[in-house]
Subunit: 429 residues, 2 copies
């Protein structure tokens, strides 16, 4: 049993050992001790429906993934300077999920490492150093990648090699623009960023985008935006780095987030769900790009691509396939989106409902007409949902977008519980 | 059975999926399928004595570590935004191994991530951005850390915020200097680096050193060098970041590599052996330093400090303690060093034998008087040892230093096999 006293003691101990400034979710932090499928269990026995965690994409503690982990960990764990078949079997299985142009992979341990490496692959191949990102995003925690993280200012401030463009917001669109006109409005900003680099004599290396703009709040990307933006970047000699750390592995109801726009990235990074919690990440690119980089810099990652990580990664892909989780994400995702759209009719405070597959954003507003963001209401709902045994969070430029991103094995029955509980707390918010 | 044909097929497949430029050990790569204690087994059934791998510090596939991994992976794996006791139990156990001034820890996944973070902690606290490292080292693979890697030139070249100083070589010492005079010679270089920053108006952030100079070739550090160098750095407002990724966790016959000099680091990074192969790393520092950093930048690492990683990390520390592996490293290490010193009497080509605990460098030379490095002989011996079933490698500025770094459970019996086999191949080299 975790009493409030125990929670306080844990928080105190945590501050002493790890320091303050380590973020914890919820006004009353959750103390978890067990997970299974879409369910998490508190130390006090309380059961939570996990509507937040994308990392355990196949469900918490999936037996087949755990078995692959344990079997390989008990047999051999070394590094890539010896030959081992796991890394080859896994690479082959994974690369088959991509467009033929994406035919090589480099393994690392975290999404941050993958993005750090991807930026250098773009640099060596373009001969440039300028990167474009959006003005409300986060791509990871290394010093180089923090330069692209507009949500938090990096240590030492932003360097001259980064230009931020407004993310393609189609809900709070400028001047009420929509469709192609709106796409063109945002495209102008990309063109201006490229021109600004040119004016400063900085050659473009590329643009780094989450293809579903997850941190920005999951906008319905105006049609034509992606293809036009990437065309401009490529014309200026830069590469399209798709950060698929959040959008990959079936999350959107397709294997990869970039499928929606149809624009195939030049370089693509993977992380979070890749090992269902085991630290593994990767950079996928055309062989010519990756090989050219490797000719310039020795990249070796001690733990990256080790036999255990690859066994786990392979099991995750096999479970996604054998349990039909990509199709489930699409099917249950559509069902949830429909239910959320019904909630929107009922609750004035829901300004917009967005999402694809099993990744949703519910944009809460003070008044529907003005679209004024309601971050306090979002905070209220998130904490009330936690109290009712449903874990979720919030995101977005205005911190007012409810963020829902359950494991891919989420069912319609799970969805009904989520929707009815949300309905209740929205009514009281 | 792995035939040469199978090895060739694996290498071809590897080049197709991962690209050329991924380093493999040995002229004839080793295809491993199983590990246990100090032993590794090839696909052809061949048995290898592992005299190289420091990552599986407690021995390959240690049952207690595997058990901790499997038990926690089957129970719960989340992240640090929920409360969990593993991270606290582990942090407490680990921090107790350090000087009282080192009382806080931040978890990450790789040594590279730890060094990347450590540099930013030094930057925020010093208000500076200048870093000193040695001229023959490697600290990791992120873009920021690659700036400190003098072995490989980073993409885009070295920035203005790095100064490299000669590593304290006491074997090929300039002008035949020794002792305190030699220390003063190298100290002059540190003083010059600091002055050079001052001349360029760059404030010092710190010095990043492996306390045993592992990549440089494990020199016998001249007495007084470390304390004087660090005193200068601190007087200039910088911090001493000890990269203990290779030297930590009992490797040197002490818990930490910095114990030998007696100089307690301000910031210390951990990696490689920390999870015995599981990707976990950490930055240890005084709470004031880490907390000040956290006030300036949000650092969150999705996989860092998760319940599984912490269970594994804790098991590693417990095994090191319960099996007396630090004392074993000291004891067997002395035994091996004595045997290597006997080999030096016998073989002209051994110019110098160095090491501490279970980490050794054997400096091969063409002629003992001239000390001219013999990298070809080192390559010959390493490959012959592999053929005889003993895995080791080479390091150093001149690529001529045999590098031996077996798991900490290495026995005197293992040592005898190593020494007699080495004796044989040195005779033929």
């Amino acid at each position: 049993m975790t009493s409030q006293m125990n929670i306080d003691a844990l928080v105190e101990r945590r501050e002493r050992l790890l320091g303050p400034g380590n973020p914890l979710f919820y006004d009353e932090p959750v103390h978890l001790v067990r997970g299974e499928g879409v369910w998490l269990y508190g130390a006090d026995g309380k059961q939570y429906l996990d509507c937040y965690n994308n990392v355990p994409c196949v469900g918490h503690c999936h037996p087949r993934v755990v078995e692959a982990l344990c079997k390989q960990a008990a047999t051999l764990n070394t590094h890539t300077r010896y030959l081992h078949e796991n890394i080859l079997d896994y690479a082959e299985l994974l690369l088959a999920k991509f467009d033929d142009s994406l035919d090589r992979i480099a393994f690392a341990c975290t999404g941050s490492e993958a993005n750090d490496l991807a930026m250098r692959i773009a640099r060596t191949n373009s001969g440039g150093e300028g990167f474009i990102c959006t003005n409300s995003t986060y791509h990871g925690n290394t010093a180089a990648v923090a330069q692209l993280s507009s949500i938090f200012e990096p240590i030492g401030g932003y360097g001259k090699n980064v230009r931020m463009v407004p993310w393609p917001d189609s809900y709070r669109a400028p001047d009420g623009l929509s469709g192609e006109t709106l796409a063109d409005f945002y495209i102008k900003e990309v063109r201006a960023a490229i021109a600004s680099f040119q004016a400063d004599g900085i050659k473009l290396a590329g643009i780094v985008l989450c293809p579903i703009f997850a941190n920005e709040g999951l906008p319905n990307v105006p049609a034509g935006y992606m293809s036009k933006a990437i065309e401009l970047v490529r014309a200026a000699g830069g590469y399209y780095i798709a950060d698929e750390v959040q959008s990959g592995f079936g999350r959107t109801g397709e294997w990869w987030g970039h499928a929606a726009s149809g624009v195939v990235p030049d370089i693509l990074t993977l992380g979070k769900p890749m090992g269902a919690g085991h630290p593994i990440s990767g950079v996928v690119a055309n062989g010519a790009l990756l090989d050219h980089y490797r000719q310039q810099e020795m990249y070796f990652n001690t733990f990256g691509g080790n036999p255990v990580s690859c066994a786990v990664g392979q099991a995750v892909v096999e479970v996604i396939d054998s349990e039909g989780l990509v199709a489930n994400a699409k099917d249950v995702g559509s069902y949830v989106l429909e239910k959320f759209t019904e909630l929107k009719v009922k609750h004035e405070m829901i300004g917009d409902v967005r999402g694809s597959g099993l990744f949703f954003g519910i944009d809460l507003v003070k008044v529907r007409d003005s679209k004024e963001p309601a971050p306090e209401a979002a905070g209220y709902v998130v904490n009330k949902m936690r109290d009712s045994g449903i874990l979720m969070s919030k995101i977005g430029e205005h911190d007012n977008v409810l963020k829902l991103r359950p494991p891919l094995c989420f069912s319609k029955e799970n969805a009904d519980l989520l929707v009815s509980t949300l309905d209740e707390h929205l009514a009281a918010a």
